[in-house]
């Protein structure tokens, strides 16, 4: 064990952790919006719309995240027409490509989580709202969404942790996140054990924090 190397690389790894956290929060933010939209589409009566939403979540859940990142980062740049559009400003940056891939991926899982939460809401709650004369729109925004969010908290907490681990794939498209920096240090010092153990502990600490945050939220918003 090379303790001095660990001491030297810790500040570098910690500043890379900020990149990881930024990737995580941005992807979760966009992923939640995408997930909510697709969960609502899944509940749509129109078979064409809900099949489309199902296909989206099936494809993104059935393929590895690595393939998704590579298609978006290496693949899309190949289309001449695409490069001429204003979107190219975003898609030429590996950082945004990674965030788009992560957001689409976590969006697919989130849509499944929210859909099952919407489906398991007790009909009595909605009927109670209706019998009080509350409009459908307000029932949806003020009753269904909060209850669904509460019900999906445990599953969503898992998804946050999975996504946090997923951000390590950003290092494959040249982003210097926690894994990227750890790998860089290893390739210059050739001390894999020390550096990867340190990076692993930082990830583990983040998992621990997220896990406890979700537990706290679950308690806070429980129905009792």
């Amino acid at each position: 064990m090379d303790i001095s190397l660990m001491a030297v690389s810790l500040p570098k790894l910690l500043s890379a952790t900020v990149v990881t956290l930024k990737l995580l929060t941005l992807s979760l933010f966009f992923g939640l919006i995408i997930g909510l939209i697709f969960a609502i589409l899944r509940l749509n009566k129109n078979p064409f719309i809900n099949k489309f939403a199902y296909a989206y979540s099936y494809v993104f859940r059935g393929t590895p995240l690595l393939v998704q990142i590579f298609i978006i980062y290496f693949g899309l740049g190949q289309i001449e027409y695409f490069r001429a559009t204003f979107l190219w400003v975003i898609f030429k940056e590996p950082y945004w490509c990674a965030i788009i891939a992560f957001a689409l991926n976590t969006g697919a899982y989130t849509s499944e989580i929210l859909r099952s939460a919407f489906e398991t809401i007790k009909p009595g709650i909605i009927e109670a709202g209706k019998s009080l004369g509350i409009s459908n729109k307000i029932i949806f925004y003020k009753i269904q969404i909060p209850v669904a969010i509460r019900q999906s908290l445990p599953a969503y907490g898992n998804e946050i942790i999975l996504m946090m681990k997923g951000t390590s794939l950003a290092s494959t498209v040249t982003i210097m996140d926690l894994t990227g920096v750890a790998k860089h240090i290893v390739s210059t010092t050739y001390k894999p054990l020390e550096v990867f153990l340190l990076a692993g502990s930082i990830y583990l600490f983040m998992t621990f924090l997220i896990h406890n945050l979700i537990k706290y939220l679950e308690k806070k918003y429980s129905f009792q």
């Binding site: 693949g75 289309i79 054990l193 692993g200 583990l204």
Partner: protein, 230 residues
Amino acid sequence: MDLLSFGKTGWGDELFYATLMTIAVSITALLIGFLFSVIFTPLKLSNNKFLNFIANSYTTVIRGVPELLVIYLFFFGGSGAIMYVASIFGYFEYIEINAFITGSLAIGIISGAYSTEVFRGAIQSVDKGQFEACKVLGLKKHIYFLKVIMPQMLRLAIPNLSNVWQITLKDTSLISVTGLVEIMRQSYIAAGSTRDPLFFYSFAAVLYLMLTYLSMKLINRLEVKYSRGF
């Protein structure tokens, strides 16, 4: 379509073998994972605090750390560790470990953490009365586990094991960073030499989708088989 033809000009045969490699790594990793869960599930369920602690640290650490990092640790640290052990025994040559073995071992350890949790949950959900009945009947411990608890546990475990299988299958794509030629690596090579990444990565996605779809069909059959009588 020319790109996918078999033979020298196309990538069809290469991708076909790469798909077989992905399947081989996934199955090996899943089996290694089962081996780990056979060891760690009893530790998790035991009354000994220390054994509990070991099993819990295994599942918590592995499930809390990115898969890619575990693979890097194995790939970069693996040969170093083995060479260190070998140097104790007086062997100082450079040892390179096979990418297939390191890869499936790394994925297997990850997969094992998930399947340990699944088996633990399944055993705990078997009705308490079944355990008591076995004790009352005076069945030997290994018989009552194999003949009574195991069949009931499998029925409960199979739906979740199919999730573990999916996770394992998708995780194998990460081994491509170590140079093992599976679907992802082969697509990377093909994309590099034809300058057509969009096509090859999309095709890789289709291959993975096909594998997940087919394995789900197969697992559903197993599920029906093991749920007989319920």
